[in-house]
């Protein structure tokens, strides 16, 4: 469903050009959840932003549902295929738009009907009261904003979801509700997830396979079974695991 080959991501121009992601290749089958973990600044968000079409300075091949995408041009069909939940909720939420308007925007662009009802249902799914649709982003808490950006990403029922630390601002009980919701959607609608998280417990619960990133590269790939058994060769992965065992 997601195929990435030899991805290179760059920022800046000329002398300041920075090579943030190097030779990254991986594939995620339909209905699978692939986790990206790794050092802060290792390029995880950069990979997601390139796939989502948010950043265009990249080379390599990215195929979504079989069709190759162009770094610089996304046609509407490509855009329908994938939604992203940003690491920083403010990345997706316009500060001057109400919560309801933010969630309805992708629905409006795609001329969907019954938008009011859909927005209500989405708010309910992420555990927020319907009256929140009239509020502005600065009038809700950090975790509530994060849930708004999840609701927005779910609105179009796209087959691929890119999730960048989607529950980092949530207490573990609300996190459990969101993760259960994501698991249900994956099972019922066959969604495919690419997920970044620092929480090894979340990785183990959600991901079928993981790629471990360091300095822009994927240095190790593991299945869930290998992760649970602690079968890792790379010191960074081992450090992640030692954290979870200290529990």
């Amino acid at each position: 469903m997601i195929e990435v080959e030899d991805l290179q991501v760059f920022y800046g121009e000329g002398r300041d050009r920075f090579h943030a992601v190097r030779d990254v290749s991986f594939r995620v089958e339909k209905g699978e959840t692939y986790g990206l973990v790794g050092e802060s600044g290792s390029g995880k968000s950069s990979v997601l932003n390139a796939i989502a079409g948010r950043h265009s300075d990249w080379t390599g091949t990215v195929r979504l549902a079989g069709a190759e995408v162009d770094p610089r041009r996304r046609n509407p069909a490509d855009r329908q295929k994938v939604q992203i939940v940003f690491q920083d909720p403010f990345g997706a939420i316009h500060p001057k738009h109400t919560i309801g308007g933010t969630i309805a925007e992708p629905l409006a662009i795609n001329r969907r009907q019954n938008r009011g009802e859909t927005v209500d249902a989405l708010l309910r799914q992420v555990g927020l009261p319907g009256r929140f649709r009239y509020r502005y982003p600065h009038q809700i808490s950090g975790g509530q904003r994060q849930r708004v950006s999840i609701a927005r990403a779910l609105a179009l029922q796209s087959p691929i979801l890119l999730l960048d630390e989607p529950t980092s601002a949530l207490d573990v009980s609300v996190q459990a509700e969101i993760l259960n919701l994501l698991q249900d959607l994956r099972r019922d609608q066959g969604l495919t997830y690419l997920m970044v998280t620092h929480d090894i417990g979340v990785v183990g619960h959600m991901c079928d396979r993981i790629g471990v990133m360091k300095d822009g590269r994927i240095v190790e790939e593991l299945t869930k079974a290998q992760l649970v058994r602690g079968e890792t060769a790379h010191p960074f992965t081992r450090e992640l695991l030692s954290e979870s065992l200290l529990g």
């Binding site: 920083d88 975790g143 009980s173 509700e177 620092h198 649970v228 979870s244």
Partner: protein, 283 residues
């Protein structure tokens, strides 16, 4: 405990709304001495508003009142704004929950740290730049010279958090309010940042209010933990005894943690009891 660094009694924060007033913080009381106090609780329970009340950095519409909010012998809520401004980022420092969006979007991250150095340490322009590069290194940012000229939207999530922490190191506050300062950091960098906080506290008595969702971190790093639910503190414990919590909300939290060594098909979720909203904390 001898004189606490911060003493809060009956803090309430209200917002006007079409349907009357919304009370988001509903009578919160606690003291912080020379110690690390964890503040955990439900998303939307009022943790950030509590922290921001102490800094008087609330949204305009918010109305905070308290029977007492004393820091260093001063009543914070009645301090003139000028005096408060001097205290902010000086005696009291706060790391805000959305670091990249609390920084100035049109000034490079390096210049922002350097400005703090010039104000607090009275350094020259050149000295401030050198100091900033050193600080970036101290918070374990690789290649400080490359990162210095980047704007806030050009740094990664975890780098944004560390830039806020670098600015706080400069100010040497005696009260630190850290609102999820490590949520975007991998385990190894997180450990290094916690060590930096401990080093700062070793230099002089410092109170730390650490708002987080990471129960493992609280258990290992903090001395005490306060648990908030719906605008109130519903339980308080020594952090090392978090697992002995009795309030059904806290119990529910502990049960909801996904663990590698205890795989489950579905995670346990809370059945929220309306009585949790009204009952007094059991003390």
């Amino acid at each position: 405990m001898s004189d606490p660094i911060l003493s809060v009694r009956n803090l309430r924060v209200t917002f006007p709304s079409l349907a009357g007033r919304i009370e988001a913080v509903r009578g919160v009381s606690f003291d912080i001495g020379n110690e690390k106090v964890g503040l955990i609780g439900e998303s939307g329970s009022g943790k950030s508003l509590t922290g921001r009340s102490i800094m008087r950095l609330l949204p305009k519409a918010a109305h905070p009142v308290a029977d007492r909010m004393r820091f260093d012998g001063k009543e914070i809520l009645s301090l003139p704004e000028g005096e408060m401004r001097g205290m902010r980022g000086g005696e009291i420092a706060m790391i805000l929950q959305d670091p990249k969006f609390s920084l100035n979007p049109i000034m490079s991250v390096g210049d922002q740290i350097a400005e703090t150095c010039r104000i607090h340490l009275k350094l020259s322009k050149r000295e401030a730049r050198a100091r900033t590069l050193h600080l970036l290194e101290q918070v374990h940012i690789n290649d400080p010279a490359r990162v210095y000229p980047l704007f806030p939207h050009e740094v990664s999530g975890g780098m944004g958090q560390r830039i806020m922490i670098a600015m706080m190191i400069v100010a040497r506050p005696s009260l630190i309010i850290a609102d999820e300062p490590t949520s975007a950091l991998d385990v190894s960098v997180r450990g290094q940042i916690l060590r930096i906080l401990d080093e700062l506290r070793a230099e002089r008595p410092t109170g730390l209010l650490f708002i987080t969702h990471d129960l493992n971190l609280v258990r290992r790093f903090c001395d005490r933990v306060l648990i908030m639910y719906s605008g109130r503190i519903v339980e308080e414990l020594p952090a090392s005894r978090l697992d002995e919590a009795e309030h059904p909300y806290t119990r529910g939290l502990l049960d909801a943690i996904p663990r590698l060594d205890r795989p489950r098909d579905r995670l346990a979720t809370l059945q929220r009891d309306p009585r949790w909203i009204t009952e007094e904390a059991g003390r």
